[in-house]
Structure formats: structure tokens, C-alpha cells
Symmetry: D2
């Protein structure tokens, strides 16, 4: 059985949440980029009872129109899946997995442009709290993994001498990139921004939590995001492909994608979900015993189709097929 | 200048968020209860620049119809206030306070019934995660002051032997009531549920964070709430009147108000705001230097008016007056 | 090269530090027990420079007379080792390991009696702080992994209703034994007593830190200890043999060995070192980069020799041989 | 009743623990300095039972010969006091305080020289661990308030690029002096080095714990110390006189006094006690309920007597008088 989702999401981009369109910022026309994205996840559900699972494994509704066909999350065994939305604009599935093996696979092609994601300038303006849109305000507050209150002194000590706005954001991003050592073995499920700051190590998730906390502590709205990110514009990474965390800051009246692990703008990122921190956008939230037995992610450039970027595929209706 | 809010809020109660109406659960007709509620808060804004402030100081839209006239938040000096709503259904004000003194006062009469708030039974059913309404799911996750993941082992060790549902909720509520010593000096701004569990002390805010975390750790949705609560059905408390934190759990298809500080159902609670934890419903969030110089809260029973509880005051239009 | 240590240690047992002699407490004569003890540890020293190492890998001077011959710590490659003592009466070695492989092996036979180690009674008297020997007082204080101050509320909440002395100690020991789940993957180098209390998991080291902290919080002196402990009086343990942590409490004018992991008195424990907590008695403290590449421990019963327990082997002179 | 202690302590200074004598380092002869030191502490002992108290309120035996007469700790009501020593060379008293008021007063004159305490140079040599005296090694390890292991990454990130030895120590001392804001309200009894690093605030105790932890993390032995310190060489401090924490590092074969709160060498410090951290040298450790009702400390320069610094007062016998 497969679950089909319409390639066009329900939420139209608004001014403050708009993901910059691929060719809005560049004067020259970048070349089209086609990405094959997908995954194969297998679980052993331990029981004794079936377990509910929340799956935040789709492309975000804002970018789903850039998929070349409706999304297909294939579930084995066949199970009914409810598609839900949350207050952050994400789409996720809910199912009840019976005891035994569960396999989730996904395979799609995402169309975008070969160009670095836009970045704020040092001069990008930081808004007064009084003028921020109401839906941006929650991204100033603390959250499970972002102890904004506890990291306030650190933020002001490290970055208080810089001018507000883009300068601070860029300096925070660089500091985390330069001072936090990346390593898959250097994290744990309950690691917080504060832990990351002290231990100087973590995975991308931890690095973003720290960056987000430091931004928020200086009254700069910041939110957590997950997605696909390949090696397209980078040296090949010997570790297995994985999903990637990044974050977004609000400056100059819009959100900007930022990446404290790589320390620079990247090409070919595919947004999946956004939230206050990793709590809100866990790929899989399981409410019973389970064990991940296989996990592979694919994010590969493929030859681009002839079709123009200016013509995203037409929205397809919801399709349920087995 | 005063800011008037319509006494009827914008959000109609829905099935899952409904606050039990005062006379729906009792077969006998309880006597009407009139409460004078209000506060006087004074701040010294330190400067050098004006500071933005978020004020979550109104009655919640769900209960605002029980006020006898439109809400009046009086601000001295006169300042423009923007009224905003958040994703949790709360209403709050935003202003920019100039350097100097700021005074916020509020005075209203709230009509309800003299009866204990309804409480779950030991047999109240806990829903499977798979059947919870989507807007209830976030209240299963961790948040800034509720380290649900870290308190999971404690929750299951203490309460895992009890049957799911009301039994566990009532046992958790009683445990926190009996084991956590209340004291105004026994808290701090960054105290979390985990700290409270270990230190065995705290204020109502801390006690609710702990209870909420233990509930969520056992897959019982729980959310944080603030409001007015007098001494109406209790021995007079020698400490100055204050706002009061409580929490709500989701059982049997509805939310139930609970109070781990008092360990029992109370009479005459007036809801102000709800959220994941205290982060979301701070009475005042200030983004600059300030000092609280006066703080008094009033929650007093007054003689009930002749008018019937069955007839809440008619919604009044937005009123702005100076 | 080997390093020989005299089998008789420098410190004569004193009243308060006396390890109960094997046959002092039993009226019946227990059968003799011979234990083969030893280990094989291999390290890769990463460099670029040689690294100093402290090795707390000998039998404690108090029990060293029960070895059947002088201790031999064999070091490959041959390196000079300095033998030092600390303020707690432990003996340890210091060496400088060159870059490359380092192997430490040890093989000895320890003579004792087949009888459970003595345990306090519920009525065992807890001393007033005013009457404790001065060298016992430090074991009332907090230390790196024992946050006595932070666990004080927990200790009094859980055990305050019991009579002081043996009753409390036995209840604390049982509580930790019953509530903390043992697991090698459930620890980390910086895990403290507080973490263990909250996470309800750990290895023997963590369980002892928690028990020690709870005892000290109730003014009962408690100290950390390490040693060999086989499966002699227990079901065979499928996990590889390891060293074992335990602790000692001071009641009735003497120290008693206790074990919160196994929850009962054991047979055939061989003391290696004592201290405030694991910080003081790390088997190996290295001041440079290294990697443990092999680690095996042996603690096996072997046929007892004809010689009487009453006649410990005569102290041998210091022997250095290659 | 008063307790008299001989002005000459039992422990002769040794190479590694020697407090630099007042005129050993200066070629020119500094002028003599006479300090009146003392305190008045009053407690309410809550009961219901008497409480044992440990009082680390004497001058350290190493400097006690510089007192102009035997020490007098006056206790009201009259109580028997036991004088004890610990493993760090400190002297302390133990008494049992009955329910009611307890007053401890002390008044003495300390003779030293008006000259800054000696400080290490940037070139001061850091010893290899392999060559450190055995009694110095414990001051490389973690302790209750000094999470050396957890602060290791921070230490190397901040100071790893500097040459080992005095350069690092001076840089650490300066960093803490410049980045940690002093404030009496910015501490709490369980505040650790890690908390201080993150919160960027604390009292002298907290600042020393952080400095000590950073030093130890870089294999530089560091120990905590308490004493009297007046305003002699500094601007008058408007806050009430208090005892003062400082620390000592081991470089060039000796211990050097350092002060991260004041960031420079001071004149007229009087050593009281040393240990791993504040746990070991609490001025008063009480094992029952008590409340401090008065606390004043005196450290004032007074006219120097005619007698030469070269002639410390002759040791007096133990004197007990009422």
C-alpha cells in the first residue's frame, strides 16, 4: 500500500514564512537542479502492543510543489495512515504499527536550481520585538533543547559588542561552526544547547540548537528545520547520507536558512519540517518500544528534465493506492 | 488611557478544549459566585531604550463571556497596545514601554458558580495516541521546563504499576501535592520539572511543571494554565494573593483542570492562558531591563448580582477609552 | 619487566578503617577460599607525546597480606614505575607510557574464607557527628559524582521516617538495588548520583554513587571502593568479568562493605582502593590520548592450598625484576 | 569560655606547600604590615536537638606563627571544642551547639609585609604529571564544585593555543576576572564551576571554582583557599567586609596564590584553609537546623608594632581559659 499526497501543499507561502524562491534573488539564471530524494527505514516493533507512530517524513507543503509527482510514502505492511498538520505548517502521518517489522520507503524527484541558498548580509536589519509578526514571536522563547534564558549571558558576552542584526547572526553561525566539533558519537537524545556549548561537540541537531538559542537570547527569532541535503556543492562525506538539520532566522522581514554545521550557504536543500526545536519535528515519534534496524537516505543529483523551473508540476489530487 | 476588550472572546469552545460550563455537571443547581478580580503592577523600565513587553494579562477568550463588562487593562502612562492571539487560543497585548515608571491595573467582576471544578475519576479513560485529536498531540512532547524524556524513567517507576488513565493522573497529582514543599523562596526563574523533582520544593508553577512532565511521560496529554484563584473554599492564606498556576489533562475526550499544589478541586478559578509550559504564558515578557516595584492581585468573593448565571453578559463591542 | 610489590602493605588496619578479618565474625569456621585474580589491559597510546598514567591496580595494603605471593604488575614494554600512596591509604603506580601499545597484566592468588561479608543490622548505631573519628568526617561531604547537597531532600523524603542507623542504610541499599536498572550501556563517564537517581539506570559505579550520596545526606559516613568480585556465590553472569564497585558505611564504630548492585552480602570480594568517589580510585587515570584495546578480568575460585587461613603469607621484600 | 590555640601550627612548611614568606622574594625590604583580623558570627540553632558544627575559622597552621598572640575563638555559651586537623593540613574545631543562640567571635593581629603576593610569570614552568609530588596529584582531579571532566573541552578551546605553564594560568585568571560578573545575589549554595561558566556571574567562591577547574583540565594543579583580605591596596569596597576565596596553582615547583575576582596580586592576605574546593573548607559546617543572625568580618590595617617581622612571636602553649 502507498499513501499519496498532493504535491501542492495546503499552505500558501506568506510574507514572513516564505522560503525564497530559487530564482528570485539571482539576476543570472542558475542552471536547473534535479535531486533524487528518499529513504528506507526499517523498524522492529517490540510490543507487546501495537505502537502509535508520528511520521514527519514528507516534504514541507511550501516546497512540495517542486516535486515532480505526488509524494509516496510506502508502508509495509500496509497500514492506514492519517495525514495531519500542526501549528507550524508541517504535515505528518500517524499510524499504528503492529508488533513485528515495519518498513517505510520514499522515493521522489525534487526540482530546484543550482545556486546557494540566500544568506543575510551583515547589514540585514533586526526587527524590534514590537514590530515582529505575531506568528514569529514564539521563536524568541525557550524550548526543550534551547535554554534561551540560561544562555543569555553567554550570548551577550560573546556577541554583545557587535551591531544587532545580520552581523550578530553571521558571527553566531561562524562561532558555532568553528568551535563545535561534529561527530555522530558525540551526541545523545537529551543533549541540549547548553550541553553543546559546554561540551563543544555534537551533531547538526545540537549545533543548530545552540545557534538558535544564542540568536533568541539576543532577540533574533530563530527556528529549527530539517530536510534533505546532499554533497552537491561539497566534498564527498565518507559517513552515510543522513537527513540534515538547519535553522532559519528572521531578519529584514523574512526568514533566512542558515547552517551552523557547514558554516556556509548550501545548494539543493529540501525542507521537510520546521518547529521550535527538534522536539517538534522528530522524523519519527514512537509511543512504544521499537528498534531501528535499517536507515538509509538518498539525496543525489540526477540529470535535469527538459521542463522549466518556472513551471512547477501541476498540483495532483490526493492519491491512495496499494 | 484604557484598553477595552470585548467580554466575549473570539474562540468558541470546541469539543476538546471546552472548559466545563459551570452548571453542566451538577444535578443540583449551585449558588452563583461573583468574584472581583484584578491587579496592580508597577514597573521601573531601566532603559536606556524603551522596551517591548508582551502582556498575557487578560481572561482567556473562552471564559471572558463570564465577565460582567468588557475587560479594561489600564496603562499609565497612556500607550498604544496591540491585541494579539497565539496558537494556543490565548489573547495578549504588546506595547513599547518608555524608560520610567509603568503601571498596569485591571479590575473586573467574574460570574461563575460556587462549585468545585470537575475532576477525572480513577476510571477516566486514557486515549490511545492514535485517537487523540491533532491539536492535543503537542501536549505529549517536552518543553522548556518539562523534560519529559528525562523524567520518563521516574514516571514509570513511580506510577507504572497503576492502571492507565484517571488512576495514574490522580496518583501523580497526589504524589506531587504530598512530596513537593511549597515556598516562594524555593524557586528560581530557570527551575525545571527535573529540578523540582530532585529538590522536592517549588512554587505552584514548579509543581505543575513536574506533574505535567510525569503525565506526558506516560502518554497523557497535559498542558499548563494560569489564572486567578482566591481563598474562597480554603483556609485564608497569610501570603499575599498571587496569580495561580494549574494544569489540564486530557481524559475521556476532554480537558480537566487539575491542581497539584492544592491537591483537590477548587472553587472559583478564572482561566487566563494556556500553553505547553510557563514559557508560553508568562504574565509579562519584557525584552529590556525592568524592575517590578509593586505587585498586588485581588481575587475576592463579592455579593452576587440578581442576574442569572444562565445569562452571561451580552458581548460588548471593543471599547477604547482614556 | 615486572614490578613487584611486597604482599604486606605499609598501613596497619586501624580501628575505624579495619576491614573485618575473614573469620572474626563467624563462630563456625568457614571453609577457606582461594581466588585467582588478575587482568589483561591493553592500550594504544595516541601521542604525539608520551602520556603519564596513574594505575590504581593493586590490592589494597590492608588485604595485600592475603595474597599468596608479592604482587606482580607486568608492564610491556618495560617501563619504570613509581609506587605511591594517597591520603586514603591506597597504593598506586605512576608511569610514562610512550606512544604505541601498552600492556598491563596481573595474576595473583588471594586467600580468604567462603563466607558472606558482614553486614550491619537494622539496629546498628549511627554515630553523632560529634563523636565520629576525624578521618571519617570527609566521607560526609559532597564529591565530584556525589551531589550530597542536591540529594538531601530526596534522602529525607524517602528515608526520613525510618529510624537512624542500620535501618536507613539497609533501606537505602535496597531502594537503589530495586529501583536502578543495571546496564553497561546505561552509563557515561560524567554520570553522577543525581543523574542516576533521575535516570533510574547505571552501572555499579553509578549505583554506589547514588547510595553513598543518600547515606551522606543523612549524616551517615559512606565511602566508595573498588575491587575484584567473582560469581562465586551467584548465578553466572553472561557479561564479561569486570572489576566491581561497592561502598562502605560507618556504623557501630566500624566500616561495613555494602553492595547496592547485588543487594546482598557477597563472598570473596578483594579490595583494591577506597576514596570519596570514583574520581579518587580510577583504575587508570591517563593524562593524554589513549584507547583501550583489550580488557579482561579474572576472578575465579581455585582449589584452596593446604595452608591455613590463619597464616597469611609472610611479607616479602620489594622485588623488581624484568 | 575561650579556646586558645598555639600561634605556631604543627605543620612545618614543605617545599611544595610553602606559602612564600613575606620578604623572601623582594630584594628591597617592604614595610611591615599589621592587620587586625576577626569576626562576629551569631547563629540561632533551631533544634529540636543540639547540632554538631565544624568550624574552619582559624588561621592556617602555616601562617599562624605570624599572629601576635595565640588564637582565641570565643564561644558563647561556653562549650567544649575539639581541635582537629584534616588531610589538607587545615585545623578546625568541632562542637555541639545546644538549641538557642550561639555566638562565635575572634580577634587577632596578624603581622606581615606590605607587598603584593608573588605571582607566576608567563614563563613559569608547568610540570609533567610524572614529576609532580604525590600530594599535589589530587589537585588535578574533579571535585564537588569543579567538574573538571565536563569543562575540559572549554579549557582547551579557550586556552589550548597558548604555551603551557604560567601563560595559560595568567590567561585563565584574566578570562575569569574579565568575563564573570561579581555579585552577592548571583550565587547559590550548589552553584558549580560549570554553572558559573554558563551564567557568567558569581561570588569569589564561584570564580575560583571556575578558574581551578580550567587549570586542572589543562593538567595544572590548582587548589581552593579561604582567608581574610582587606581593602588595603584597593579602592574601598562599599559592601560589608567578608572572608575571601582565592586559589593556588602549582608551577615551578611551588604553589602560587592567585585571585580571579580581583585579577591581580593582593597585599595582606591571611590564609585560613585549603582544599579541593569549597566543600573541604566551609567556614562553618552544621549538621542541623540553624540560622545565621549576624555576620561581620574585620580586616583592617593597624599601626605596626616596633617588633621586627624577622621575629615572629614565640609559639605559645595551648591555652584553655573561660
Amino acid at each position: 500500500m502507498t499513501i499519496g499526497l498532493p504535491a501542492s501543499g495546503p499552505a500558501a507561502p506568506t510574507l514572513q514564512s516564505a522560503w525564497p524562491s530559487a530564482n528570485a534573488v539571482a539576476s543570472r539564471r542558475p542552471r536547473p537542479l534535479s535531486l533524487r530524494i528518499g529513504f528506507d527505514m526499517q523498524f522492529e516493533i517490540g510490543g507487546p502492543s501495537p505502537t502509535a507512530m508520528l511520521l514527519m517524513l514528507f516534504c514541507h507543503p511550501e516546497v512540495a510543489p517542486q516535486l515532480d509527482r505526488p509524494e509516496q510514502l510506502v508502508i509495509e505492511p500496509q497500514l492506514p495512515v492519517q495525514i495531519l498538520g500542526d501549528a507550524f505548517g508541517n504535515r505528518y502521518g500517524r499510524l499504528v504499527a503492529p508488533v513485528g517489522n515495519l518498513r517505510l520507503t520514499y522515493d521522489a524527484v525534487f526540482q530546484c536550481a543550482y545556486e546557494p541558498e540566500p544568506q543575510p548580509e551583515p547589514s540585514s536589519r533586526q526587527h524590534e520585538v514590537a514590530e515582529l509578526p505575531a506568528d514569529v514571536l514564539p521563536f524568541l522563547l525557550g524550548s526543550r533543547y534551547c535554554e534561551v534564558d540560561r544562555l543569555s549571558a553567554v550570548a551577550w558576552d560573546l556577541f554583545g559588542a557587535l551591531p544587532p542584526g545580520g552581523s550578530r547572526v553571521l558571527a553566531i553561525n561562524r562561532w558555532v561552526f568553528e568551535h563545535i566539533t561534529f561527530g555522530y558519537r558525540l551526541t545523545r537524545p537529551n543533549k541540549t544547547a547548553l550541553d553543546t556549548y559546554v561540551e563543544r561537540t555534537g551533531v547538526c541537531r545540537d549545533m543548530m540548537h545552540l545557534t538558535i538559542s544564542l540568536c533568541r537570547a539576543m532577540n533574533i527569532p530563530a527556528r529549527y528545520a530539517t530536510g534533505y541535503l546532499g554533497d552537491i556543492d561539497a566534498d564527498p562525506d565518507p559517513t552515510p547520507m543522513d537527513f540534515s538539520a538547519f535553522y532559519e532566522v528572521y531578519l529584514d522581514g523574512r526568514w533566512w536558512p542558515m547552517d551552523a554545521r557547514h558554516g556556509k550557504a548550501r545548494v539543493g536543500r529540501v525542507l521537510m519540517a520546521r518547529g521550535r526545536d527538534a522536539t517538534d519535528v522528530a522524523l519519527v515519534t514512537s509511543f512504544g518500544r521499537h528498534r531501528l534496524t535499517k536507515f538509509t537516505v538518498v539525496t543525489d543529483e540526477i540529470p535535469a528534465p527538459a521542463q522549466s523551473l518556472a513551471m512547477p508540476p501541476a498540483p495532483a489530487p490526493m492519491a491512495l493506492s496499494a
